[in-house]
């Protein structure tokens, strides 16, 4: 077999970046023509290629045990199991988004900009998964953020979209400042930015206070990206106002990318052994996890607007995933615990994207956004509603899909870490989430329609995206094993 050059390890990200360029080229050659079709196909092809390469690497064992991680560009970038795992995750979500956007944007101008921004953000996210230095982390995070701001506000004549974009942007700007300042403090304490070097320097820093402050500020930057308390305020508004495919993109892929960076930075750059005297970040994340899941779920419980409910639930899920670091106590089976968050993020990528795409579908139909508007929808669109039911029950942790296993994997992780508080909080919130998710199900299946609703057309792209998401969600129940094993293996390589 031909031994590829080492730099090709980063090929999935490069392919995404090339797709962006290609899209821009096509658009500049033919700026006026209505070429949504072509653009969407190109984006899908580019992303699928990227996923295919990622999958190949994953199977081929690139950068995974027993071989060492592939380090590139003066150790600024790493390709290992975890990065490939998240690249695949991001890519999968992007495919769904692009498929759905094809219908969603049918009469939308600036489609080329839209697709290229999506791909650009995706590039940033996959780069986040590969970051191995605080510098790369910062740059890739911003690379993911900046296009997102524009995407959220991309419905220029929709006040909701603009307002969402504004809030997202302002909080994003503030958070990136906090993040940058945090990095600068970490740098001040150790004089280096590479994860391994930071870890090495942290152990015997002369400025533990500065280091601790820096760590907290860095955590703040990630909290923003993952929509965790107290940096979550933008999320409900942004997810509600943004075009639904973008909401799906942000709440699934962007969140996942934020988490992979968080995992890697805290496990590799700030290992507990090195920062033991400075800060017990496991405790910090325990507090954040509990508060995040509680805030998200409780606020979601009484929403009238389905999309906003999903937005808050997305905050709640961020809290769940935080368990992966919050239960990372010294007694715990660390790869097991960390793997739980990764596995949940993957499943979440499909089921949450699916749920938001269903909202996109209802927006396409002009159904309205409140629970009452969904009444009796199942009679008109049984398949879409069945898919939505799968997503919702899977999100709630019933055995309709992979969400069941991943949620219980998280619960196992909290027990494994010996943090009963997390387990209890997860139980309480999970119960509450079952309540509000089932409100949607109830509206769709149990209530009678008020009779005014006429559904016009069944958009192929949206349906295809929803169907794929549903199939993946269901398949991840029996096929949870490989996912969990992969997550575990990837996690074990870095802990």
């Amino acid at each position: 077999m031909v031994q590829l050059p080492v730099w090709t390890a980063i090929a999935p990200t490069v392919i995404l970046a090339l797709t962006v360029l290609l899209l821009l080229v096509v658009d500049s050659i033919n700026p006026d023509e209505d070429s949504g079709n072509l653009l969407a196909v190109m984006a899908v092809i580019g992303t699928v290629t990227s996923i295919a390469v990622t999958g190949w690497y994953l199977l081929a064992g690139t950068g995974q045990p027993p071989t060492d991680p592939v380090l590139l560009f003066a150790d600024a970038i790493v390709v290992d199991g975890m990065s490939l795992f998240f690249t695949a995750l991001v890519g999968s979500v992007v495919v769904l988004i692009v498929l759905a956007s094809y219908d969603y944007l049918a009469d939308h101008p600036y489609q080329a900009e839209y697709y290229s921004l999506v791909m650009l953000a995706a590039t940033g996210m996959s780069l986040m998964a590969s970051a191995n230095s605080l510098a790369t982390a910062f740059v890739s995070l911003e690379l993911a953020s900046l296009p997102s701001f524009a995407l959220v506000a991309s419905l220029k004549h929709n006040r909701g979209s603009v307002e969402a974009g504004l809030k997202y942007f302002l909080i994003g700007a503030l958070s990136s400042a906090v993040f940058a300042f945090g990095i600068s403090l970490v740098f001040a304490a150790g004089g280096s930015l590479g994860f391994a070097d930071v870890a090495a320097a942290a152990a015997d820093t002369s400025l533990p206070g500065v280091l601790g402050l820096g760590i907290l500020f860095v955590a703040g930057g990630f909290a923003y990206k993952t929509a965790s308390v107290p940096f979550h305020f933008w999320a409900p508004d942004a997810y509600e106002g943004a075009p639904s495919p973008i909401s799906a993109f942000l709440s699934s892929a962007s969140k996942a990318a934020g988490f992979v960076l968080l995992f890697r930075v805290f496990v590799e750059a700030f290992p507990q052994t090195a920062v033991a005297g400075t800060i017990d970040w496991v405790l910090a994340f325990q507090v954040l996890a509990v508060v995040t899941m509680t805030v998200g779920n409780f606020a979601a419980a009484t929403q009238e607007n389905v999309k906003r409910m999903l937005a808050y639930s997305s905050v709640g899920h961020a809290g769940y995933v935080l368990i992966a670091v919050a239960a990372l106590t010294t007694d715990a089976n660390r790869s097991f615990v960390l793997g739980s968050g990764m596995a949940h993020l993957l499943v979440y990528g499909f089921m949450n994207t699916g749920a938001f795409l269903f909202i996109a579908l209802t927006e396409y139909w002009d159904v309205g956004r409140t629970f009452e508007d969904f009444n009796g929808l199942a009679k008109q669109a049984p398949f879409a509603c069945a898919a939505m039911t799968v997503f919702l029950f899977s999100l709630a942790g019933l055995p309709f899909g992979g969400g069941f296993l991943s949620k219980f994997y998280l619960l196992m992780a909290s027990v494994n870490g010996g943090v009963l508080l997390l387990a209890v909080a997860l139980v309480v919130n999970s119960a509450l989430s079952l309540y509000y998710y089932s409100r949607v199900v109830r509206a769709m299946w149990l209530e009678e329609p008020d009779g005014t609703l006429e559904i016009q057309g069944y958009p192929t792209g949206l349906y295809a995206a929803i169907a794929v998401a549903a199939v993946m969600t269901v398949l991840l129940l029996p096929a949870f094993g490989p996912v969990a094993e992969m997550a575990n293996a990837a996690a074990s390589a870095i802990v």
Binding site: K167, V178, L213, L216, D280, V295, F298, T302, Q303
Partner: protein, 685 residues
Amino acid sequence: MAVFDYAPAIAVLPLAAFALALFGGRYLPKRGAIAGIAATGGSLVLSLWMLVTIALGADPHQQTLYTFVAGADGVASVDLSFGIFIDQLSALMLVIVSLISLLVHVFSLGYMNDEGETGLPRYYAGLGLFTFSMLAFVFSDNLLMSFMFFELVGLCSFLLIGFWFRDDAPSSAAKKAFLVTRFGDYFFLIGVVAVFATFGTTAFVGEESFIAMAEHAMPGSEAAVPGVVSDWLGVVGLSASQWFTVVGLLVLGGVIGKSAQFPLHTWLPDAMEGPTPVSALIHAATMVAAGVYLVARMYGFYALSPTALGIIALVGGFTALFAATMALVKQELKQVLAYSTISQYGYMMLALGGGGYVAAVFHLTTHAAFKALLFLGAGSVIIAMHHNENMWDMGGLKDRMPVTYATFLAGSLALAGVFPFAGFWSKDEVLFETLVHGLGSTGGTLLLLGYAFGLLAVVFTALYTFRMVFLTFHGDARTDTAEDPEPVRWNVKLPLAVLGVLATVVGVINLGAVKKIIGESNLFLHEWLFHGAEGLNGEHYEELLHDFAGYTAAELPGGPLAPAAVSLGLALVGVGLAYRLYGGADPDPHMLKLGSVRTTLMNNYYLDEFQVWLAMSVTAPVARVADTFDQGIVDGVVNGISSVSLLSGDRFREIQTGIVTNYAALLTLGLTLLVLVFALAGGWF
């Protein structure tokens, strides 16, 4: 023993009749009556065969038929099984039950078929099941099986008392009958379970039976104490005699319920709502008899406990008197009979408690004959009177219904205990046995008290019985219906005739009062019961009573004659009183003169009211309070948690003000808090 192979058929035949009548009754001749007659007739023949076989000297027969729960190997658990046990006692009882049942079936042709009732297949199915249950109860070879069929008897009483379910009264009475007896059976079941726990078996027969084991476990017994019993006594921490008394009293609960003893007798008068033949069956041979029979069946167990015996005697004596007083004032024919039944079963209990095992069985036998007779006679009158039961609307029926009158009179004389009718001999025996044991035993006061009750009740019995006879048959007809009653057919008269003869002569089997004259060996029933199975015969019981209960019979100077004369005299006083009061052509309602006493008696001492009060004013409110508590507090907490969650959800939403500057402020605040906490914890400054 080939003959005993047919024993199960005694019960199975009526069961088959039940199934036939239930599923095919519509297509059968007489709606299933013929099948029932054939089945009970077959049972009677087989029972008689058993009786004769044993009389000819065959040993009692015990056989396990079917084990429905086999204790697993290697586990200290027990088998639950059905079996038959045919000995002198059960063979006699089988004959009684199947005979009465046969006659009731025949009588029903007149009472039900001829009257054009609907739902007859259901009726005959019920009779068949009733007979089956009772027969199976009688030949049970273990206490659990007894309990099971005891309960089935209760079910059948429910079905038959409530036969006319479209009316409110019968269905209510049926409910009451089942419920009150169920209350007694509750204690019985605890008793059964306790027997299981104590002995690991509920068998009646043999060295491994619980009765024999109990005897061995008593202090003073020569045999070794069975290990299982001593282990258990260690667990409960009671001595053998204490624990056996407790168990005996628990089982007695079922007896008091089924045999309608005070205070669980209230269901029985209501049960008169059922068809009259059913009343005859219930009172004479099946349900009510079951209780007394059960005590007789396990008499060896009761004989170990003087306390239990004393209570049985006292309850029995008291009930005999208590029920007799109420019978004095009733106006409906069947009501009088109902209270007389309660009273007569009181006598049987008195006998059992007083050490008169034979006397009790004797009275059970004679009572079966004359009470069935009286009920069927009453049924005949009721047919004639177009279902009017009020005695004050009758009068002068003796000329228009001679056969009914003659037989009814025989039954009444037997009930009143007039020489030489059957009831005289048996009732006298009951009182005599109680008296001698009361006089001869240490601590016999309870027995003497019971005796006094019983003696007093004799007067009342004669009084109400002949009040009934005079009001119904003598004097002038007081209504048009009584002037011209509806005639009854052979199917009514035949059973009356058979029973009339029996009520007159059946006393001959045990002429106890004159035993000095005819010789002890000619007391047939006495001889019969004293030669039962090993450990389950009258002779052994006498030893047990002597050894463990301290019962000794006193020698009276005049032998049994003097007490017999006393009770006969009292009975004649009652008859005479009745003649004085009601013997005229147009008798006055003398009982009205009793005033408030009568009101109390008419209302059954307000015991029904008390039980209704218990149900409606105690249990129902408690249930409602529980329901309110459940809905309000228990479920309230559940709903409250959900409301609180949703309310706090609303609070959480308030944080999200929509103003981006606030977000920035809260974000800063949150971060600052984190920094402060960890700075202090980490000692950064």
